[in-house]
């Protein structure tokens, strides 16, 4: 039945956004944060991640396949919405539209980021180390591109946590949804700090 498939796709889209993609995002930002302890610490952490056993299996099933499904289906979801913010300027309606806009921004950013790092490293055009990111981020255009990309990713994740809790029936009452709104703001600020702090380290060495 096509109907059931649509239901399963939506459920899967919601689940994959948090597990494993959200968890990978947190891990990725955390490992990158080693950069604030200097190039050696970052290189050691990155080398540890690079040399994990059965790395390709982990990458394919924890990162690439979930990310592909979430992004392709997400583009479909984003483009079936019709913004009506001019007549309904409520907070949640703004979050609804921002979730779709940041989703598209994040997709553009992640596609470029994967191309420039993982794919370039895979083809041997680049080497995974501190100077790779330093080289990218000392260019002002790419620094700001990464700032926008990272913040839209963290927003999409934090606000996505809120809708995840609604979509799986965890927060049902208006009060629990409000508490989750505050919690998601805290998550957004915290992981945005981690991401932006790392970018500043690479770009300015401070």
């Amino acid at each position: 039945m096509a109907g059931t498939r649509g239901y399963v796709n939506r459920r899967l889209h919601s689940l994959l956004g948090v597990v494993p993609i959200g968890i990978f995002l947190l891990q990725h930002l955390t490992v990158n944060f080693f950069a604030t302890r200097g190039p050696e610490a970052f290189n050691a952490a990155a080398h540890f991640m690079e040399s994990l056993p059965y790395r390709y299996v982990l990458e394919i099933f924890i990162i690439f396949l979930p990310l592909l499904f979430h992004s392709i289906y997400g583009v479909y979801i984003a483009f079936t919405a019709k913004s009506n913010l001019s007549n309904f300027g409520y907070f949640r309606n703004w979050m609804f539209m921002l979730q779709r806009i940041t989703g598209i921004l994040t997709l553009i950013f992640v596609a470029w980021h994967v191309w420039e790092t993982r794919i370039a490293i895979g083809f041997g055009w680049a080497e995974l180390n501190y100077s790779l990111m330093e080289g990218i981020l000392t260019e002002p255009f790419f620094f700001w591109f990464y700032i926008v990309g990272v913040i839209s990713t963290t927003f999409h994740f934090a606000n996505g946590l809120w809708s995840f809790c609604v979509s799986w029936g965890i927060t049902v009452s208006p009060r629990s949804q409000l508490v989750m709104t505050y919690a998601s703001i805290v998550v957004f600020v915290a992981i945005s700090y981690i991401g932006v702090r790392t970018l500043i380290q690479f770009a300015y060495g401070i």
Partner: protein
């Protein structure tokens, strides 16, 4: 002195479902305590537009005139609401009236809300009690539950929540908040709960519950203050449990 005061209306009109819409301006004499319907009645009494030309009377739909039937819903100054309770004194002028865009226009401000009634049929928004013999009295309902279920029963299928929803549009077949909330209402009824699983299964598709994007405009716009997003979240919980049951095989099925 109030005899000289006028009210300006800009009304989106459409002569026929297949023709394109156009705006027409009306100036009508002010009376105290007017609502949009009494202003429309004034236009119908004297169908002359602001240019002084005689035109066809503006057509609209209405029923109860006390905000319980939902028939007179239209978009008033950008907000979908019932025209019977839209008081002229509280509206900014010129007052813009337009039909709700979610539904096909039949003429001027009247729309065809059939899709909402079709949705109610689809989700079986009733308690089936018909049969060949007397089934006796049904089970009792706890008072605490009756109280919130009563709030859900206030839905008048007016269409305002569908009009406010960014996911109800020409690109999707999302069923909309009204019918979903009715699923929760009839599933909460002790006799209606006998068809709970069936109702949940009908909304478990991309056009059903999953069409919701949690923009929550519906709950902000509902004229009856129905907790639509609470209903939707409760259904998310129910369908999650329902899908786990079906995925791993239910003990309540053969």
């Amino acid at each position: 002195m109030s005899e000289n005061k006028t009210i300006t209306f800009i009304i989106t009109r459409q002569d026929h479902p297949d023709e394109s819409a156009y705006d027409e301006k009306f100036e009508i004499p002010y009376r105290e305590n007017m609502n949009v319907i009494s202003a429309l009645m004034e236009i119908r009494r004297n169908p002359v537009n602001a240019d002084g030309k005689t035109t066809t009377p503006v057509y609209w739909d209405m029923g109860c005139l006390e905000e319980v039937c939902g028939a007179c819903s239209m978009v008033i100054n950008g907000t979908p609401r019932q025209s019977c309770t839209a008081l002229v004194d509280q509206l900014e002028q010129p007052i813009r009236l337009a039909p709700m865009t979610t539904f096909p226009v039949t003429r001027d401000l009247a729309v065809d809300r059939s899709r909402m009634f079709d949705s109610l049929k689809k989700v079986k928004a009733w308690v089936p009690i018909d049969g060949t013999h007397d089934l006796g009295p049904g089970p009792k309902m706890p008072e605490s539950k009756r109280q919130w279920a009563y709030e859900l029963s206030k839905c008048m299928t007016c269409g305002v929540c569908l009009e406010a929803c960014p996911n109800v549009n020409s690109k999707t077949d999302f069923i909309g908040p009204a019918a979903l909330s009715q699923v929760r209402l009839f599933n909460s009824h002790p006799t209606g709960a006998m068809n709970k699983s069936e109702r949940l299964q009908t909304i478990m598709d991309a056009e059903g519950l999953m069409g919701c994007g949690n923009a929550q405009n519906c709950v902000q716009s509902c004229p009856k203050g129905i907790p639509l997003t609470t209903s939707i979240a409760a259904l998310y919980r129910d369908t999650a449990i329902e899908s786990f049951k079906s995925f791993f095989g239910s003990d309540s099925r053969v």
